[in-house]
């Protein structure tokens, strides 16, 4: 019943998940707290104030925690309470652990290390490439890859892990039945299908801005190590890294080009002691030893674009690819380095684009496609 009461408490309107554990402690248990709130009066008001006492009293009287739990289960949503073994035990000992977590998707595999990959939403091709590659390698090794399902690095980390057939967990800043950002509907569905979604917010909760930094503490809390791929100085990824430091988790960072504004955050992390990650081994070294699974869960997702054969050396295509290996380039740069006119270059670029070798970024820049860079 503890599970039902905690779920019902978290579902109260405007319940702050950060203060819920404290309320439960003060009331002497989730069931006690529920009773107090349902009875209302002085005792409840002393805990939550008169305003909420009134709102929640009615709500409590209309809700049956047992039925609520059943209806959640019918919707495919599991409720996880502190101490349960499906999540790493370290989560429950962070500074402000969640009172309850909502989960949908598969059962989490046990005995695996958890690693978070976080970074900028407006990542460059390089960042996405790194995130996808490293997440894929980690997934193949059986590491659970955790991220926040945001644009950019987050999404690419989830994708990389899923494509490698690994298990990935998305911790959301809204209810787990909400699709946010809306463009990620397909991705979230895929994660639910072959990994799982977690949230401390009740189903239906809106993606409010202040929820995301709080969510970041869970990402840090769940993992043994947090890998930052690309971040500006004020990035949310750095908040996650900070939580990780406070909770004694490893912080790792991927370096990049110094003229890219998105490396300022990661480089300052490295300067202050974060480990520089150049390959997946650099991450695995920091993790406690674990059994490498021979067969990873799930089957690798089929690639819709077959990696084309590398173009013959000396061809215009291979010349362009060699230049792009050095970093993103505009048509001007390509024309200067190859000495060819714009028309034929554009034609070749389309060919490379169609074969999946390159893609385009804002600013008219061409970059190597994520999956071929590494």
């Amino acid at each position: 019943m503890e599970r039902a009461y905690r779920a019902a408490l978290a579902c109260l309107p405007e319940m702050n998940p950060l203060s819920l554990p404290k309320l439960i402690r003060m009331a002497g248990g989730a069931e006690e707290l529920w009773r107090t709130l349902r009875n209302g009066g002085e005792k409840a008001a002393a805990l939550v104030g008169w305003e909420k006492e009134r709102a929640w009293r009615t709500q409590c009287r209309e809700t049956d925690p047992g039925l609520l739990l059943e209806s959640l289960a019918r919707a495919g949503i599991r409720v996880i309470i502190p101490g349960e073994e499906c999540l790493p035990a370290a989560l429950w000992s962070i500074y402000d652990p969640p009172a309850v977590l909502f989960c949908s998707g598969r059962e989490t595999p046990s005995g695996r290390p958890w690693v978070a990959i976080v970074g900028a939403r407006k990542a460059t091709g390089y960042g996405k490439r790194c995130a996808e590659h490293l997440a894929g390698e980690l997934g193949r090794c059986g590491v659970v890859v955790v991220s926040g399902a945001a644009y950019g690095i987050d999404a690419q980390a989830h994708r990389g892990c899923l494509q490698a057939g690994g298990f990935t967990v998305a911790v959301l800043g809204c209810g787990i039945d909400r699709i946010y950002p809306p463009e990620h509907a397909g991705l979230l569905e895929a994660i639910k299908d072959r990994g799982c979604l977690l949230s401390e917010y009740p189903p239906g909760a809106d993606p409010l801005p202040w929820r995301f930094p709080h969510r970041n503490r869970l990402i840090a809390g769940l993992c043994q190590a947090v890998l930052v791929v690309e971040a500006t100085e004020k990035s949310g990824a750095l908040i996650t890294a900070e939580y990780a430091l406070e909770e004694g988790r490893e912080v790792l960072a991927v370096p990049g080009l110094i003229d890219n504004p998105l490396t300022r955050g990661t480089h300052s992390l490295i300067q202050s002691g974060a480990k520089l990650v150049a390959s997946v081994e650099d991450i695995l070294e920091e993790l406690p030893p674990f059994d490498l699974p021979l067969q990873v869960t799930g089957e690798p997702a089929g690639e819709d674009v077959e990696p084309a054969l590398f173009p013959a050396s000396g061809s215009r295509e291979s010349v362009l690819l060699e230049i792009l290996r050095e970093g993103p380039a505009t048509l001007d740069v390509l024309a200067r380095l190859t000495g060819e006119p714009a028309g034929p270059l554009l034609e070749t670029l389309t060919g490379l684009h169609l074969k999946g070798w390159i893609c385009q970024e804002p600013g008219g820049k061409y970059v190597l496609a994520p999956r071929f860079g590494a």
Binding site: P181, G186, L187, L188, D304, T330, L346, L349, G364
Partner: protein, 517 residues
């Protein structure tokens, strides 16, 4: 007593003939003005009376009836001051009614008897010439504008007395006219350093008459590029010159030193413009808007998403048809509007998305909203979407000058000639020809079709984007002088659909890619 003077007026973009009749009767002085005059015409009585008095000429002291025929059309403007005054003088016996025949007269009077300039004299002279008139009297201020036409006698008059002298057969001194022969210097394409992608796109736009959108951070040279487009467009043909000059004459924008210019017009209205300012309109008498003023030339809309939505939406129909029809309670009229649209916009609200130096500070949602301000139907009519990036100061100094405008224009003219020959009409370009004809003229082979399927599948092109690609590919082939459209042409054309490709990879794909997992 009765007298008649022939005059004309402007209605929308058309010149209409107006017969000014004056009749005097009875002995009680007074005036009736009939024939649907607007305020400026009704007030002319006061000006005429003062002008005649100050020229020391007689004024009829009887009941005067002024009629402006045809009576059913509204008359506006101050064109009729001089004709009415001359008719009155004729009634008084100063002029022989026979000498008024066979001449058109227009002009506004000042109170001291001087004749002031009016708008549209070139258009009027052109109309008069085509209608077989032998002579037109215009204010001397408008002389250089109207007198450039051959085949009609244009006489400039300084004041009322001079016009009377002229009609009485006395010699009237005409000022010496000197027109500028050489075309004003147009900015040259070689002044834009680097930007090969954008310059190539500009060439394709000029060659095929395609509309073009530049996306780039502030200072990347979008306006510079746009201003250089008229310089690489083919010069206007003599018919087009007259058409364009008439429009500018009616709008009062003609350069009196060079009334007939073969350079295509270039207009760049500010983004606060209203939809009436853009397409034309007005309360009673529709006036041409910016799209008509840029007829046969270039309309540059910088900061496209900042334009008012209703102003942009009204562009859709003229972009398709090449003309705009304006209906008001009193008049409805049609303005020509075949222009080449060049639009500029930042890649995101802060302007620095994708910039190599400054990081963009916009959340993804805001960027999406920024692009959503330009409606899909409008974007569909812009064939070329090109990203422009900022050059570093070093590149600005070190890069060599590019091709000169003249060289590019040569190629553009050749490509245009091929198109005119193929479509069998003047000014029919790949951008505006019927799509079924275009598809036929592309003669796509099996290989090309396979390539297009691949593009549709991998890059998520829509059916519309497809047709746009085909048009652009046809132009690229024409520039190269190729009979058939090949894979190479199509591949280059794909590169000019920046928005589809870039946003395909940034946002749209996140849906497609995710769903594909």
């Amino acid at each position: 007593m009765y007298a008649k003077v022939d005059s004309c007026s402007i209605l929308g973009m058309e010149v209409i003939r107006v017969e000014v009749e004056v009749n005097t009767s009875g002995n009680l002085p007074g005036i009736y003005m009939v024939g649907l005059p607007d305020a400026a015409v009704r007030e002319s009585y006061r000006r005429i009376k003062a002008a005649i008095a100050n020229s020391e000429l007689p004024f009829p002291r009887q009941l005067i009836t002024v009629n402006l025929a045809p009576a059913h059309l509204r008359k506006e403007g101050s064109y009729f001051d001089l004709p009415i005054a001359l008719a009155m003088l004729s009634v008084c016996g100063c002029i022989d009614p026979a000498s008024l025949r066979g001449r058109l007269v227009v002009g506004e009077l000042a109170l001291n008897g001087e004749v002031r300039g009016v708008r549209g004299s070139l258009a009027m002279a052109l109309w008069a010439k085509r209608r077989g008139w032998k002579e037109i009297l215009v204010p001397v201020d408008n002389l250089s504008e109207a007198a450039i036409l051959e085949g009609i006698k244009v006489v400039g008059v300084k004041d009322l007395r001079q016009s009377l002298d002229y009609l009485l057969g006395k010699p009237v001194p005409q000022p010496e006219l000197r027109w500028r022969q050489e075309e004003a210097h147009l900015p040259c394409l070689s002044e834009v350093k680097g930007q090969l992608y954008a310059k190539r796109a500009l060439e394709v736009a000029a060659a095929g008459g395609h509309n073009i959108l530049f996306i780039g951070p502030p200072g990347s040279g979008k306006s510079m590029l746009a201003e250089r487009l008229p310089g690489i467009l083919p010069p206007l043909t003599s018919d087009e010159v007259l058409e364009v000059s008439s429009i500018h004459s009616i709008a009062g924008l003609l350069d009196p030193e060079q009334p007939l210019s073969s350079r295509p017009p270039f207009r760049a209205p500010h983004h606060s413009i209203s939809h009436v300012g853009l397409v034309g309109g007005g309360k009673n008498f529709p006036r041409p808007g910016e799209i008509t003023l840029s007829h046969r030339g270039v309309l540059f809309l910088d900061e496209l998403p900042e334009f008012r939505r209703d102003a942009l939406e009204v562009l859709r129909q003229p972009l398709e048809t090449g003309w705009v029809s304006i209906s008001r309670s009193l008049v409805s009229t049609t303005f020509p509007a075949r222009f080449l649209l060049v639009a500029g916009m930042n890649p995101c609200p802060c302007g620095f998305l994708g910039d190599s130096v400054r990081a963009c500070s916009c959340p993804p949602g805001r960027i999406r909203n920024y692009y959503a301000r330009i409606s899909g139907p409008l974007l569909d009519r812009i064939d070329l979407q090109v990203e422009v990036s900022r050059l570093t100061p070093r590149e600005l100094v070190e890069l060599p000058d590019g091709e000169r405008s003249e060289e590019v224009r040569e190629r553009v003219i050749r490509a245009r000639e091929i198109q005119y020959r193929r479509w069998g009409g003047d000014a029919v370009t790949n951008a505006c020809v019927d799509i079924s004809l275009l598809r036929e003229a592309c003669c796509l082979g099996e290989e090309e079709k396979r390539f297009l399927y691949l593009v549709a599948e991998r890059l998520g092109f829509t059916a519309r984007g497809f047709d746009r690609c085909l048009r652009v590919a046809r132009t690229i082939a024409d520039l190269a002088g190729r009979e058939k459209v090949g894979v190479a042409d199509l591949a280059e054309a794909v590169q000019y659909r920046s928005l589809e490709r870039m946003w395909g990879s940034m946002f749209m794909q996140e849906v497609g890619h995710g769903a594909g997992l």
